[in-house]
């Protein structure tokens, strides 16, 4: 299942991890590993979600705003409206799916460009989230406590954060959906060559819409975890740039923005690498203002290296064929 590209990424993660560990042994401390694992879980869920849309040949830019809006709604339902947390979770995921349905419909049925549709989503949901809370920070009232809920989504099992466990479970299910199911095959087909897929009788619009529904539905799951992790949400900044983390992880993991390429393993490794880099910035005393610059540089170098390697592979093959 694991391909050569993913193997390179794994090697890179180990090398970066080893270097950081040598310079600052705290990298391997249980508390640091546990925290990093938690972040990998939180960011991984919506990175996997993003991969589905990217493989379909689209892009989902509203991830951060959806996380803010749904986080605000979730906390409001639980804290102010006293809705059962389980029911609140279902409601929030349902809203996420509806958002995905809308995006998918606009892209697949009305032929709008995914970039434009989801950019508008990014602006709209952020605005609604701020209006909904009147721009105030949404949080749990002082003294309020939901022990079961908190244990479920923000707890740890022998030091393993539940967010990571949820991420692993979601990854396994989604890996099967993407790589072993009929739907997954159709998704790659639509992303690679929509016309040939249509000529083969595949309902290409339905596949595209499903990709957006999966993406926004999973993002809603992530939104609940992230809301319970931060516990208070200031709707103007919560989740800012998260869509870019997701896209970066997917691209690092071998997804092509032209569609039709990518793997779940790759996206997971991409997420891990991004979080290790974040951690590296903290542990090595690099000014945190350089955080994005480090991430951007590594992604650029990774993509460049990949392109050079695949070009060489083509050149090596050409004279033989």
């Amino acid at each position: 299942m694991i391909n050569r590209k993913d193997l390179w990424l794994l090697v890179l993660i180990i090398v970066v991890g080893a270097v950081v560990a040598i310079i600052n042994p705290r990298f391997l401390s249980p508390i640091n590993l546990s925290n990093t694992a938690n972040l990998i879980g939180l960011f991984g869920i919506f990175a996997v979600a993003q991969a589905f849309v990217i493989i379909s040949g689209g892009i989902e830019l509203s991830v951060g705003s959806v996380i803010a809006l749904l986080g605000v709604i979730f906390i409001d339902l639980v804290a102010s409206e006293a809705v059962n947390p389980g029911l609140a979770f279902v409601i929030v995921v349902a809203i996420g799916c509806l958002i995905g349905l809308l995006h998918g419909f606009l892209v697949a049925k009305l032929g709008l460009q995914p970039f434009v549709v989801t950019l508008c989503g990014l602006l709209i949901y952020r605005g609604i989230a701020r209006y909904y809370t009147e721009d105030a920070t949404a949080g749990f009232p002082f003294g309020a406590s939901f022990p079961t809920l908190e244990w479920l989504v923000a707890g740890r099992f022998y030091g393993i954060p539940h967010s990571l466990i949820a991420f692993i479970a979601i990854t396994l299910v989604m890996g099967v959906v993407l790589h072993k199911s009929v739907f997954g095959r159709y998704l790659f087909a639509v992303g690679k060559n929509e016309e040939a897929a249509r000529y083969s009788g595949i309902h290409t619009a339905r596949i595209t819409i499903a990709a957006y529904v999966i993406c926004c539905g999973l993002t809603a799951v992530a939104a609940v975890f992230i809301a319970m992790y931060t516990r208070s949400i200031s709707p103007s900044s919560h989740g800012n740039f998260y869509e870019l983390y997701a896209i970066a992880a997917a691209v690092l993991g071998g997804c092509s923005l032209r569609g039709g390429e990518g793997s779940i393993v790759g996206v997971v490794l991409g997420t891990v690498l991004l979080q290790v880099l974040q951690n590296l910035v903290n542990l090595l005393g690099i000014p945190s203002s350089l955080n994005f610059a480090v991430m951007g540089s590594v992604i650029l170098i990774g993509v460049l290296a990949d392109q050079q390697i695949s070009r060489r592979a083509v050149r090596v093959k050409a004279p033989a064929g």
Partner: protein, 501 residues
């Protein structure tokens, strides 16, 4: 007769496996209109691409104004005064007529700012448009012009480039009768002003009227040159055809049965004013001939549910078939092997196996999960049945030759239960060996009761494979020909819009 300014001598162009142009000589003198006719694939386009400098000839010489050279470059052709008015117009629809005429050569103002001098631009464009009798101004946006008017912009552009030779490739194929009339007048006017024209057309009546001289191509060779007095449609047709067709025909095992596919008054979005009716009988291969642009592919796309059905009905085995989408057509057992294999027939980056099972994946799946073993087995079975030359079905389809790629497209449909198969140019870009295998397969399918409709522009194929032929002309069926009446002459006469003699 003035001395010719352009002489092409013994020009050849060899592509792998085919001589597209074979030792053609042609010369052009000032103010002369040359008709260039030939069937699809006779070598007209390649010859003109050589003249435009887009394609380098494999042999022969080109002499322009007494300077001999091996090939023309695009720039050299332009500087030599050769201009093209293409079948598909190359205009920027978002710009005005004047901006298109002077694209890349705009008059500037403002010194280092390099701003476009719009007034000067329009002033310069005006005389060219007037010269052609255009009834729109230089400021007219091209998007608002009709196809005929866009052509005038192209011709004006050619004139502004001081063209001595304007090459028109099927300029009248999408024009109305009155627009055609005007274009023929413009050709006469160009001629009067000393501009030469090479006029490529399937509409022989127009060639008859406008040409001073006609060059007929067939199979990449110049087979005839007709002087002014010899230009008659019948003479041209006689020269365009007349190859000895190899006897590839395999007769069906038994006489054809009841109709399996019937089109009753089908109207396409391409030409909604024409209604097409035809029927394919069980065990029969119906050839669908016609010139490029006659609406055959559009008809196939409509029947396969890719384009809306504007009227009429499609029946399969006598039952009205709902064909609103490809998947609906596929559910009825009607499959299409498309014209453009790499774009519509295959996902070339996908493994051969996944291409073969793409339309039928549910069969190899349980609860939505693919049974990879069953899929592999099915793919291997098709590989052996169709003799697809590959060691492994996991190799990408792109790694196969054209013929084997076409077999993969076929394998996709044959792993299901076809009732009707529509082939659109089944052997385009396919080598000779694979060609005969595909023909054999078509006959085998037809003998097993599959109705086959074969669109083809290759005369040899139409005559060599079909049991019966329907000929299309400008969106309608110009006529049907039975096996006994099949000849290049009879097909071509119908295809160019003449009633069969």
């Amino acid at each position: 007769m003035p001395e010719p300014f352009l002489k092409m001598t013994g020009i050849s162009k060899v592509y792998p496996g085919i001589r597209a142009v074979d030792g053609i000589s042609i010369s052009v003198s000032k103010g002369e209109v040359i008709g260039l006719v030939g069937e699809n694939g006779a070598g007209k386009s390649t010859l003109m691409k050589i003249l435009g400098g887009v394609v380098a000839p494999s042999g022969g010489t080109i002499e322009l104004d007494g300077v001999e050279m091996e090939r023309l470059t695009v720039g050299g052709s332009m500087r030599g005064g050769i201009a093209f008015v293409h079948q598909e117009l190359n205009l920027f629809e978002n710009l005005t007529a004047a901006a298109n005429i002077f694209i890349g050569r705009e008059p500037l103002k403002g010194g280092p700012l390099r701003l476009i001098d719009e007034c000067e631009l329009n002033r310069r464009a005006e005389p060219y448009l007037n010269q052609l009798g255009a009834d729109f101004g230089p400021e007219a946006p091209v998007a608002s012009l009709s196809l005929a008017e866009m052509q005038l912009v192209e011709i004006a552009k050619a004139l502004s480039l001081k063209a001595r030779l304007v090459i028109m490739d099927e300029p009248t194929s999408s024009l109305t009768a009155s627009e055609t009339e005007r274009l023929l007048k413009i050709i006469a006017r160009l001629k009067a002003e000393g501009v030469s024209v090479i006029f490529i057309s399937h509409r022989l009546a127009e060639v008859e009227r406008s040409a001073d001289r006609v060059v007929v191509l067939r199979d990449g060779k110049r087979v005839a040159e007709l002087g002014k007095d010899e230009i008659h449609a019948e003479t041209m047709i006689r020269h365009m055809i007349g190859r000895d067709l190899k006897t590839l025909y395999r007769p069906p095992a038994k006489p054809p049965g009841e109709p399996i596919l019937e089109l009753v008054g089908v109207r396409t979005a391409y030409r909604p004013e024409q209604a097409v009716s035809l029927s394919v009988r069980r065990g029969e291969i119906l050839g669908l001939a016609g010139l490029v642009g006659s609406g055959r592919t559009e008809l196939a796309r409509t029947v396969f549910g890719l384009e809306p059905l504007k009227g009429g009905e499609v029946r399969i085995r006598g039952e009205p078939a709902p064909i609103a989408s490809p998947s609906a057509a596929i559910a009825c057992g009607l499959y299409l092997v498309p014209e453009d294999r790499k774009r519509s027939g295959l996902i070339v980056d996908f493994p051969i196996r996944e291409n073969i099972t793409l339309a039928n994946l549910e069969v190899h799946a349980k609860h939505g999960l693919i049974d990879f073993g069953a899929e592999e087995k099915a793919a291997l079975k098709q590989r052996d049945r169709l003799d697809i030359r590959t060691r492994s079905v996991t190799a990408p389809a792109a790694s196969l030759s054209g013929g084997n790629q076409q077999k993969v497209v076929l394998a996709k449909w044959l792993s299901m239960q076809p009732q009707v198969l529509i082939f659109d140019e089944p052997t385009r870009g396919v080598d000779v060996g694979a060609k005969s295998e595909i023909y054999r397969l078509m006959r085998e399918l037809s003998d097993h009761g599959v109705g086959i409709l074969m669109i083809s522009s290759d005369m040899e194929e139409v005559i060599g494979v079909s049991d019966r032929v329907a000929v299309m002309h400008e969106g309608r069926i110009a006529g049907f020909l039975d096996r006994g009446d099949l000849s290049e002459q009879s097909i071509l006469s119908l295809a160019v819009g003449r009633i069969a003699a």
